[in-house]
C-alpha cells in the first residue's frame, strides 16, 4: 500500500481540472484515433466498456484490449494530467476565486463534455451511461431513507413504478399519438420543454404514495417498517397489474424519447446537489439525530414525526423522478420490472457504496451497474461474482465502501500545488 502511494505521489499535485483535461484528451484521442488504434491492435472495433466485454468473450484478445486501454486511456490521462498540472493549478486557483456555484457548474460542464464525447462513440455506451445515472439517482434517494434516516425501507421499486407510470401516462396523454390515449392533447413540440414538469409530477405522485407507507408505519420502527414497505411494493405492483386502462400486466410502450443524455445528466447533477443540501440542512441534521436516538432528539425539540415524514417523502420523490427517466429511456414500462429483483439491485447499490454518503451512493451505483454490464458475458457466473464481492465488502467494510462522508465540492476542485498543501485534507 505504501509503495502504491509512493508510485502515485507525482500525481498528488494534479487538481480535478487536470484530471478532467486528461480525460478530455483521452476521449478526444479515442474519437479521432480510436478506430485506427483498434485496427492495428487487431480488435474488431473500438472496445466499448474498456474492453471487458471482448476480453471475456475472446480471451485471445485480452492483450490487445489491455494495450488499447493503456494507449488510449491510461497513458494520456496520466501524462496530460501531470504535464499540465502547473497550468491547471493556475486555472483551479482562478476558479476558486469565483463563486462556488459558478466553479462547480464549469467543472460539471467539463465533465459532461468528457462523458458525452466518450459515450458518443457508440449508442451502447450512451444507454449504459443513462441507466447508470438513473441508478445513481435511485441509490441516493434510497440512501436518504436507509442511510440518513436509518430505517430499512423496501418500497423503493414501488415509488419508482408510481413515478414511471405517472410520467408515462402524462407524456402519452399530452404529447404522443398512441393506441392507449389517442391523439396528443398538446403540441408534441412542447414535449421536451415540459418534460421536467412531467418528471416532477411523477415524483410528486410517488411522494404522495409514500404517505400510505409513512402514516401507519412511523408509529413503528425497524423491522415493522421493512415489512409494511415490502407490502406496499406488492400493493403497487398488483394494483398496476389489475388496472386495465394502463395496460395491466402488458405494460405501456412507445413513450416519446425525451430522456436524452443531457437531460438525464442534468437531473442526476440536480439530484446530487439537492440531496447534499437536504442532508446538510437543519432538517438533515435533525434526521441524523432521529436515527441515532429518537427519544433524545425528541427531547431536544426535534419534531421527529415531521422530520421522518419529510425525509421519506423526499426519498420517494427522487425515486419517482428516477422511475420517470427510466420509463423514457426504455420507452416501455411493465409492472413486472418493479419487483423484488429491482429492490435487491437498489439495496445492493446502497449498501455496497456506503450509507450516509453521497460519494458512496455514486460509487455503489456506478460499480454495480458497470460490473453487471461488463460481466454479462459470464452469464451464470456473474451472479456468483457480484454477490461474492458484496459479501466481502460487508465483511470488511460493514457500512459500505465509502460511508459517512460529506460531499465537499470546495475540497474537490481546489488547486493542489505544494504551497497550499499544509491546509489540505
Amino acid at each position: 500500500m505504501e509503495k502504491l502511494k509512493k508510485l502515485f505521489s507525482p500525481f498528488s499535485v494534479v487538481p480535478l481540472a487536470g484530471w478532467l483535461l486528461g480525460g478530455f484528451s483521452a476521449v478526444l484521442m479515442e474519437y479521432y484515433l480510436g478506430d485506427l488504434i483498434s485496427y492495428y491492435l487487431y480488435l474488431p472495433k473500438i472496445p466499448v466498456l474498456f474492453g471487458t466485454l471482448i476480453m471475456l468473450k475472446k480471451p485471445l484478445l485480452i492483450p490487445s484490449a489491455l494495450a488499447y486501454d493503456l494507449i488510449v486511456y491510461i497513458v494520456p490521462i496520466f501524462l496530460v494530467a501531470r504535464l499540465t498540472a502547473p497550468l491547471t493549478n493556475g486555472l483551479a486557483a482562478l476558479l476558486e476565486r469565483m463563486p462556488l456555484w459558478l466553479a462547480t457548474l464549469i467543472h460539471l460542464a467539463a465533465f459532461y463534455g468528457v462523458l458525452s464525447t466518450w459515450a458518443g462513440i457508440s449508442d451502447y455506451r450512451v444507454l449504459v451511461v443513462k441507466l447508470t445515472m438513473i441508478s445513481v439517482i435511485l441509490t441516493l434517494s434510497l440512501n436518504v431513507i436507509n442511510g440518513y434516516q436509518g430505517e430499512f425501507s423496501c418500497s423503493h421499486p414501488g415509488f419508482m413504478a408510481l413515478g414511471a407510470y405517472a410520467s408515462s401516462i402524462l407524456t402519452l396523454l399530452l404529447f404522443a399519438n398512441d393506441k392507449m390515449f389517442g391523439a396528443p392533447l398538446l403540441n408534441p413540440a412542447l414535449g421536451p420543454y415540459l418534460f421536467p414538469l412531467v418528471l416532477v409530477f411523477g415524483g410528486a405522485v410517488a411522494a404522495l404514495g409514500s404517505l400510505i407507507v409513512a402514516i401507519p408505519s412511523f408509529r413503528t420502527r425497524g423491522d415493522y417498517l421493512a415489512i409494511i414497505s415490502l407490502a406496499f411494493l406488492f400493493i403497487v405492483k398488483s394494483a398496476i397489474e389489475n388496472l386495465e386502462i394502463f395496460g395491466g400486466p402488458r405494460g405501456m410502450s412507445s413513450q416519446p424519447n425525451y430522456a436524452t443524455l443531457p437531460v438525464v445528466f442534468s437531473w442526476m447533477a440536480l439530484c446530487i446537489w439537492v440531496v447534499h443540501n437536504f442532508t446538510t440542512s437543519v432538517l438533515g441534521k435533525a434526521l441524523n439525530a432521529v436515527r441515532d436516538n429518537e427519544p433524545a432528539a425528541n427531547s431536544m425539540t426535534v419534531n421527529t414525526r415531521k422530520t421522518k415524514m419529510t425525509a421519506f417523502m423526499f426519498g420517494a420523490f427522487w425515486a419517482g423522478v428516477a422511475g420517470g427517466l427510466f420509463a423514457h429511456v426504455l420507452r416501455y414500462v411493465n409492472p413486472g420490472t418493479f419487483g423484488l429483483n429491482k429492490l435487491a439491485e437498489i439495496l445492493a447499490m446502497v449498501y455496497f457504496g456506503g450509507l450516509n454518503s453521497i460519494y458512496g451512493s455514486i460509487v455503489g451505483a456506478l460499480s454495480i451497474s458497470v460490473l453487471s454490464e461488463a460481466l454479462r458475458p459470464l452469464e451464470l457466473f456473474k451472479w456468483i461474482i457480484i454477490p461474492l464481492i458484496l459479501i466481502l465488502v460487508m465483511i470488511y467494510r460493514p457500512h459500505g465502501l465509502i460511508s459517512f462522508t460529506e460531499l465537499n465540492v470546495k475540497g474537490l476542485i481546489r488547486p493542489r500545488n505544494k504551497a497550499r498543501q499544509e491546509g489540505g485534507e
Binding site: Y42, L53, A67, S238, N242, G248, T337, L380
Partner: protein, 392 residues
Amino acid sequence: MRKLIYLVLAACVLTLCFSANGWTLGRETVIKVGINAPLTGDIPKVGEGTKYAAEMWLEDVTKAGGIEVGGKKYPVELVIEDNESKAESAVTANTKMITQDDVMIIIGPQSSKQAIPAGDVANNYQTPMISPWSTNPDTTAGRPYVFRGCFLDPFQGPVLANFVTEEFGFTKAAVLYDVASDYPKGLAEFFKAAWEEKHGAGSVVAFESFTTKDTDFSSQLTKIIKSGAEVLFTPQYYNEVALIVNQAKDLGWKGPIVGSDSWGSAETVQLCGEACYGLFFSTHYAAAGAQGATKEFIDRYNAKYGYVPDDVGALTWDALRLAQTAIEGAGELTGDIKKDRTAVRDALAKIKDFEGITGKMTFTEEGDPIKCAVIVKISDKGEYEFYKSICP
C-alpha cells in the same frame, strides 16, 4: 516517477507483443447473428433451449462452409447475449449487438415483456429481429423490421374454442388464469370472447383468476365446479398446470381440462403425472409422432442434449432458418451493414410458404406468420401426441 514510466512502458511493450495473438481474427466480412436469450433469471430453461438450438444451427452452417450470398460464402458467427429475463437488459443487449457487434439480424428475445422494448430498439436502428416465442401483438405492430416465429393469441383463442365445441359439443366453459401475467391473461380474454361469440353471452360460466406464484386454487376451482361448466380452460405455465389439474381432480372435477402452448414444456407431464394423461392443448408442434425434418431435429437435439426439445427450441430453430433464408435471398452483401440489414429485412418479408419444423409460414404485413396450430393430446404414456392440425 521514473519507475512509473518504466512500468507503463513495459506494460505497453508486453501487451503489444502479445496482441499479435489476435492476428488470426483480423477484420473480414463475417455474418453475425445475434441471440438475445434469458440465460439467467426467471426462465433459464427457455434461454437454454434457445442457446442449444442456435448452437446446433451454427454447427450446420459451419459444416456447409458458411452462408452463401450472391455466389460467395461468408463465415457465420453467433453473438449470444444474456438478457437476464429483464426488460432493460434486453434493451441494452440489443443496443450492444446492433451498434457494437454489427449483427445482421437478431433472434429473440423470447418473452413479450422483453421483446416489446427490444423490438423498438431493433426497429429504430433498422435491424431485422425475429422473436420466436413472443405472442403479444405489440411486439411487431407498426414495426416493419420486427417479425415473430409463432402465431398470435388472437388466433390461438378461437382455435381452442372451436376445437372444444367440435370435439366435445360443450356449451359451457370455465376459465382459470393468472391475472398478473400478460400471456395467460390475454389468451384467457381471447378465448372468452371467441367462446361467447359461438355460444352466446354468459356461456363462459366462470372466469376465475389468481396471481403469479399462488399455489392453492381450491376456492376458484370450487366455484368453477359449482358453476356447472363442462370444460375448464387454463392457459398457464407448466408448474401451475400440474397444481391446477391435480387440485381440480381432487375436488371432484370430471370434465376435460384444455390448455395452450404454454403447456408444451417437457416438465408439464413430469410434474403433473397421470392426472394430465388424456388432456388436450394447442401448441406449435408435436414432438411424438413427428416426421421428416421435424423428427430429424428432435432426434439430433435429443442425442446432443439429452432431452426432447420443447416449442421454444423448435421455434428458435425455425427463426434461425428463416434468418438464413432471408440472408441468402438478400442478393449481394455490400459490406455496408446498414444497407445489408435492410436488404435482409426485405427478403424476410417476401418469404412465402417457408417449410419450418413448426409448420408452413408466410409473413403478414405486420411481420406475423400465418401458420397452423397443432392440437396435442397427452397420451397414456405421457407423450405429446399429434391429434389435429388447425389452420387459419
